[in-house]
Point group: C2
């Protein structure tokens, strides 16, 4: 999305700064600010090594879920596996924001991304907070600069904005995300901040966010690794003036969840498209299993298989690896009932006709040339029907390339 | 092991031939032959797409587990996901061996490895069986030629021979294996054939094989993918003359299982050392968890993590990824109780002193230079103590290199 197409919800502003965590003056500090206190919700990594900012934010939301006014994000250092020093550093950075911006205690969420196990140079963050304060702007350019400041191996900023009706009132959701590596669906994946002018309680926000994340950020995989820092936060300042959403039964709750999903899906897909070393965007659609969870597990086995991902990188229509990965998923199905189609194209809107490769669990006499033509496209569709059950799932993933190995073999050096 | 060091058990001979499944006259057909019928046991892939030879062998062992005299193995074509035609092709190739060698029906096990989903050119195998018959030899060179004929992306043949006492009688176990890609512990992984002169029932062989495989082939990972064809077979012709092993309680059963394990561990490690694109051999030792299964799951999460494996490829002592992978394993542990040591060296016998990196879940002020020196070695040891429980496990894995991507991006072309 280009900045001139981005509408921002009322009451939010953004800032970015280069505080010296990253080398060579790159932007590495971002702030999201609301002029009034917000209801907030967040989803966090399931990794047992939750980073210091994840631990801090969990505590903050249990203490003050309706009084959040800022989100401070640094890149270049994950502040993970840094012990009690790490937690103290997170607290100091939040308190620096609260002091400079004149906010109440426990009003600043903190997010970090970057290398694991290195002490956070918190004094560089503290020194930069006044500059963040001075450069706050309530426009799309500022949001995009903030999105740039949270990047690690991402090659481009990822921002979004959507509008829609919630109980008859126009509501906006805008946000940003970063991804690139250690990306795998397990609750919230990677960092994302979403802001809205909707009026809602923290409980309702949490419900809506969970539903939206389950069909967006939890349906992507770059490399099967779940980070120590994954966080998706959602702030809602209520300035849209809709009747406050409190429960999933409320008028407007489903509309807001759908709106949130419209914001999360393109951000999640952007993360895959910009996955480390990714050259191809792959949609895996699975139908016909006992339930959606089984379908998701089977789609996931395909999405994380190094053999499937390297074949796609090579443009090799090596479909046997797709079914072999399905066979490894641990999901029960009749191998003789499987059907497989593939397609490819320049974009989701420009796909070649579906080519059926397998029927009844055995290969059809398909044209190898037609299969290769599809596997050579930048966007690939893999559609599997594994029986006649009602379970279905869609996942998005990317290929595994030489550049992925290069990027991750040299990350710290 | 060099051929001149290999002692063969009595009564077995081996042959290899180039039958034209692989291009350019490469060896692609191997035969293991016993002069008398053998008791046999095998462990197979858990992939739901079990290849035709896996289905055939399962049926054969249920019908005739004491009358096996031959194992026919082809490389270059997995005969997997090939439908009923594939099963018919496996049966025809077994019957060709039985006709030419004058064997009883259901006496020939079949194994296949190579590309998935391509019809097996069974007539080429049938035409080559007389040549296999003529070239049978009972020596180590023939075993090594057979080991060469079952290779796919392996760069070298893998053979083994061990001797030991079983209930006071000298017993020999020899064998061969192939691996390289689609290697991941899940029951029998890859292809291996073991032959012994021990006297044992199929039941006892199956028990011994299961125990030995659980601490060898089931403890390795190259890429986390489990093939459709993985099989480990064990033949026993009884010529050593020991009292027949029938139950795990029998005198000699534990000795034989230990002997089998001594054969399986180096073959399994050879598979990892020769993993597709592997430049480093990595041992992951985990202790201190609730039980061995939990320790195995945690070691496995580290062994399959692309981020850990690419960091090792790059020689980057990025230990944070090791603990992050442990945190993703789904295993319960206290993050603040973890300790991590690393070492490296030219071989298991020549390792640098252990360097402790983490204690109490937080980094120690270790020397980055000393850490990098260890990560730059061809053999790497990662030792994690995750608490004070009795559970422990060791796994062997390799790094993830540019060559892995190259090999698997171009496999079929």
């Amino acid at each position: 999305m280009t900045p001139d197409l981005l509408t921002l919800p009322q009451g939010y502003s953004f800032a970015a700064h280069a505080c010296g965590i990253k080398p060579q003056g790159a932007l590495d500090l971002a702030l999201v600010f609301s002029e009034i206190p917000c209801a907030a919700a967040a989803l966090f990594t399931q990794n047992r090594y939750a980073a210091a900012p994840v631990q801090y934010d969990r505590q903050l939301l249990s203490l003050n879920p309706t009084g959040v006014q800022a989100v401070l994000i640094n890149s270049g250092n994950a502040n993970a596996i840094t012990g009690s020093m790490g937690l103290a550093a997170t607290r100091r950075s939040a308190e620096a924001v609260e002091a400079v911006f004149g906010l109440a205690p426990w009003s600043t969420l903190v997010m970090s991304t970057g290398v694991i196990g290195v002490p956070l140079p918190v004094e560089r963050i503290e020194r930069a907070v006044p500059a963040l304060h001075q450069s706050l702007q309530a426009d799309a350019e500022a949001l995009e600069r903030a999105a740039r400041a949270i990047m690690t191996t991402d090659t481009r900023p990822k921002v979004v904005s959507v509008q829609g009706q919630v109980a008859g009132v126009e509501v906006t959701v805008a946000g940003m995300a970063k991804g690139a590596g250690m990306i795998h669906p397990n609750m919230a994946t990677m960092l994302a901040v979403l802001v809205s002018d909707v009026a809602a309680t923290p409980h309702a926000l949490h419900q809506a966010l969970t539903q939206a994340v389950n069909v967006s950020f939890n349906r992507i995989s770059v490399d099967g690794d779940t980070s120590t820092n994954d966080t998706v936060t959602l702030l809602a300042n209520g300035l849209a003036g809709n009747p406050v959403l409190t429960e999933p039964d409320d008028a407007g709750f489903r509309e807001f969840t759908a709106l949130l999903q419209r914001a999360c899906v393109p951000l999640a897909q952007d993360i895959v498209r910009d996955g480390e070393g990714a050259t191809r965007f792959v949609t895996v659609e699975v139908t016909g299993l006992a339930d959606d969870d089984q379908a998701h597990r089977l789609a996931n086995a395909i999405a994380v298989s190094p053999l499937v991902k390297t074949a796609i990188y090579g443009g090799d229509a090596n479909w046997g690896r797709i079914l072999a990965a399905a066979g490894n998923s641990g999901v029960a199905f009749d191998p003789a009932a499987a059907a497989l189609w593939i397609s490819g194209g320049e974009s989701a809107a420009k796909m070649l006709p579906l080519l059926q490769i397998v029927d009844g669990g055995a290969p059809l006499p398909y044209s190898e040339e037609e299969a290769s033509r599809r596997f050579a496209q930048p966007e690939l569709l893999i559609r599997l029907q594994m029986g006649d059950g009602p379970g279905r799932a869609t996942m998005w993933t990317c290929d595994l390339s030489h550049d992925y190995v290069t990027i991750n073999g040299e990350y710290r050096t």
